[in-house]
Symmetry: C2
Subunit: 502 residues, 2 copies
Amino acid sequence: MGTFELFKAHLTRITDLKMISSMMNWDMETYMPEKGGFYRGQQMATLSGIIHQMAIDPRLGKWIAQLQKDNQLNAVQKRSVALAKRGFERSGKYNEAFVVELSTTISASHQAWQKARAADDFSIFAPMLEKIVSIKRRECEILGYQDHPYDALIDQFEPGTTTAEVDTLFTEVRAQLMDFVHRIQLKQTPEVDFLYAAYPTNEQWDYGLALLQQMGYDFKAGRQDVSAHPFSTTFSPEDVRITTRVEEKNFYGMVWSCIHEGGHALYEQGMPTQYYGLPVCEYVSLGIHESQSRLWENNVGRSMSFWQNNFDALKNRFPEQLNGVSLSGFYRAINAVRPSLIRTHADELTYHFHILIRYKIEKALIEGSLEVRDLPAYWNACYKEYLGIDVPSDAEGVLQDIHWSHGSFGYFPTYSIGSFYAAQFYHQATKDIDNLEDEIASGNLKPLLGWLRKNIHQHGKMYTARELCERTTGEPLSFQYFMDYAFKKYGALYDMKVENVL
Amino acid sequence: MGTFELFKAHLTRITDLKMISSMMNWDMETYMPEKGGFYRGQQMATLSGIIHQMAIDPRLGKWIAQLQKDNQLNAVQKRSVALAKRGFERSGKYNEAFVVELSTTISASHQAWQKARAADDFSIFAPMLEKIVSIKRRECEILGYQDHPYDALIDQFEPGTTTAEVDTLFTEVRAQLMDFVHRIQLKQTPEVDFLYAAYPTNEQWDYGLALLQQMGYDFKAGRQDVSAHPFSTTFSPEDVRITTRVEEKNFYGMVWSCIHEGGHALYEQGMPTQYYGLPVCEYVSLGIHESQSRLWENNVGRSMSFWQNNFDALKNRFPEQLNGVSLSGFYRAINAVRPSLIRTHADELTYHFHILIRYKIEKALIEGSLEVRDLPAYWNACYKEYLGIDVPSDAEGVLQDIHWSHGSFGYFPTYSIGSFYAAQFYHQATKDIDNLEDEIASGNLKPLLGWLRKNIHQHGKMYTARELCERTTGEPLSFQYFMDYAFKKYGALYDMKVENVL
């Protein structure tokens, strides 16, 4: 075998093991019996340890060094070597003691968070969160950074993006979006109660499957199961699974989470399979991943065009629940803008305030300007300031998200970044595809999926997020596309005069 | 860490990976989407390769050598070292090229078998079977043996058992059992059609769960799912899963396969968890494993006592299907002795003729006295001789079992050995437990499960099969217990005079 083949075989083995690890996680969230957790945790730790050992294997370093000097490599090979180099160097920074400490702290912290949330008592979680913050701060030092320690963390999820860039972006978000939402709040709130009527769960399940089918999700290369929290996961580009949660009185939550996870899964099913094992056959960044889920969930799934095609069938399926509801009433309801306590229940505009708050907090925790003990009060003050609402309990406040208990600092901003990419991509798609909205209104989602496959999915990690965005839309990420989308859509919905339309 | 701790940690990591491999297999048989197979196969091969590397790690050999000289070890530690030594030596005999050749041949052969069975054409499978036989013959030489090459193969499934011993046992089986079955066949066949009436599949599913519950299967440490072929599998003693197949017109198959797999699963749930990772926390042999499934399936599940307790509830659940059927009619039906084509459909007496035939054939293939091309004719002749029936097609004949396509030579005898152990264990249980049959007839299965936990399950692999049998019953395996059980039960059922009762 040549050097590149040795290099590829090694990386492929690592990929195989990571996919296996995803499967163990999937089973844990879907089918694992109650007592199965203890040994599952141990088995996953064993696997992680082996993956880490393989990731820092000195032979890999040697192959990378040799390949960097090789002029014969094609573009995919070059990019693979460059990405592998970054991964190898990053992995090499961690010593085993730190990895073990991190994983055991996360495990204990996750349990403490679950207890704290159940008991609605932040003080149960606080000592573990302090530990997590202190470990994450050490991790920033281990990984290194230019300007702000938080740079090291966000780079894990959104490679190449800095705290300064996010600051700039979010300052704009705050300035423009908050003003717009305040104006919307002066208008009358639409009727939404019918979205929360009782919808039989088996009918909901079937409807979710029908939506995924319509989107082009390949059920021969995937499946949907039930879990407490919806997610999508990948065992290979030919086995990409979705989970959903079905509750009788939360039809609304089920439908859009189903479309959201479907968007993630379409991205993974569209990866360049021929490069399985190489880092180019991976997603670009969490922001780009989220752009795919949000584009389907919001730009498509909350559009008038989509429901022009789907509303009649929906009403036939649930005639009682939607009795007397018109298409336009339905459209207004699914786009109601209302400040809320829980991030995952938020509409597509106020959602970003939830992110701004979390970003502000975790940056402050990492830089040391906020103490864990002051967190609940600070959280509640932020919710008052950004969303104008009072937080009645820790469970519905600072304890609502799993992320910090998992040590995932730097993750939250990617949700908003994903929405903004989605708006920019969708804007470009409407330019590139003849009569896209008409196609959607007639039930033809193929042109859109084809466009995403061609411009986003098939490239895997061949380009950085910035490069991909520039190749696809001619410019780097610009928040104006999102604001433009918001102005147009919500201006019409709430009968408002809007300016600044692109 | 001391040497034993290092040794244990290494073996535990290997166990972790084997359990992960079981989970991947389970998912493949239950939930994996159609296209998922290619990468799944590759991922499993990667994991197997890593397991093999760890199994032949020279450090393990060094630790074993050191521990063998250690006088301070307790009994469990000593046994662990002895078992690990055997495993280490066995693994070391295989070189990587052979392992790869074996696994790729098995993979291709399995596909050829599936095609051949679907097309009812042995010639599609024959070339691959020849390859498999030739590889298995080489494997016998690699592993080594005393008298007969087949010794090396059976030792993988029933450690310490030789071809000569199986020959002796099966000669007895043939002599005694065949004569008895011939006498039964002169009697009238009971009515069985109601067992194959249409039973709603969801009701069947619920009934299967209720049976498992009754047996004492812990659903917090396991679950049941659907697969094409029922099996049980272990991810840890606290996550032992069962699968079943539910078909409207095969209620009979569902019930006893459910009890059968439940018996396997109870054994695994009863393993000495405190030794997880050490070889003492494994099953003794396939024969002992099968004794646990057969004891529940036949000695309990096909007994009058069991149905004295269960028949009324069954009839209430399926009043139409069992309309006019009495308890004794039901008992006769579920114990009907009828020669049949398919091993897995056989009653508990003629079942063993299916095994005798397979044993005779695979021994002949391995020793080279039978050619693959002559196999179908030989198979059919055996079925005529042993069971008195004509085989209408390869699909229902020589192609019916998966085992040879998987390279599992030496596996079949353990099914019969398991039944014989079951009879001997059950005989002892009736001596040790006060009024066992009355307890079962009153629905109390706890004393029996307690007896199995105490005498079989909790010992894991602390003893050899022979030792375990002697400790539990006072003597080594004796076929007479099975014949005695058969004489008593079927003598009464078919109103026959029987002798030789113990």
